[in-house]
Symmetry: C2
Subunit: 171 residues, 2 copies
Amino acid sequence: MASITNFFDGEKKTMEHHPALASLNQEPDLLKTVLNKEGFRFTSQRQKILDLFQATPLGHHLNAEEIHQQLLDQGEKISFSTIYRALHVMVRLGLLQELELAEGRKYYELNTPFMEQHHHLVCVHCGEVLEFEDTKMTQVGHGESATRGFSLLNCQFTVYGICPSCQSLLG
Amino acid sequence: MASITNFFDGEKKTMEHHPALASLNQEPDLLKTVLNKEGFRFTSQRQKILDLFQATPLGHHLNAEEIHQQLLDQGEKISFSTIYRALHVMVRLGLLQELELAEGRKYYELNTPFMEQHHHLVCVHCGEVLEFEDTKMTQVGHGESATRGFSLLNCQFTVYGICPSCQSLLG
DNA sequence: ATGAATAGCGAAAATGATTTTCAATAACCC
DNA sequence: GGGTTATTGAAAATCATTTTCGCTATTCAT
């Protein structure tokens, strides 16, 4: 069973970005609203994690350990179990997106509106990740899932290669 | 560091499918040739694993545990360490392709010629995986890596959604 | 063919990310 | 405010994968 499954079990969800996303910065307690609507509770830990994503530059992705470390650095103590639980809930609510970058761990980023979805070019040698947009992906993802009668949740296009500087390193 | 990294560390490799693939069925000891060319040794375990992939219907993907179980079922005893080592080597040689399907584990399939590369539509509820082809993916993958000066190894387009039967189940 | 060098094997232990358990705490709703 | 119950943190558990190590089997040169 897909691990993503747990986040969606028992209900449908559309690919549209969460309406909350656009105004997350403006409305301070929007997270609470979004959580409560689905029966989850608002906690300071969840807010701090979301804040971290909002403070993270575009194109940078966070994993559980980085979140833990960054919160420690700013003096916040938080357990890994809480981090993992918060990540699951926020993926479930459409606030975050889970990324598979062929590493042993999962990365997360703020979810983006569907038509602006970006994709990833990964250097398998140094781990650098570049982002790019291409609406063809989105179209194919939509088309393919429509053809098969799937309700679309998410699509990820990941290109693996070796970046220019690693190429020169490797000769 | 990307886990894929290990398989390629220290050398470049192109996206072309391995020339061996086309004739793997015809030439019984082609695997030996391919392995030896890179300094690896041919073993009966590696042959059995490759045989398994060749006996696996298109569109079905194998993980380490399934390989172990299927070999057990046919009376072959093999250790997990051997399976994992063989998988790494065969990915490294371009015989197999590693798939990230957002589960906690990795799946493998026979590598296919680049221009026939297929992609995956995954039901996050029941785990069903459908395959589809679309040359646009390949083009975008090529184009994007060329633009950034990357040497292309592999691209994976994965669409997550809920399949028709799970949709009716979930109401 | 034969034998030295060493890659690969299996078993078991180790690792690393993630998940679960459980008792204490804190959000939510009336 | 108070009862209900989701959430927390700490520790233990889990699960896939990797590593270690002594032994075996493959390769390659003779």
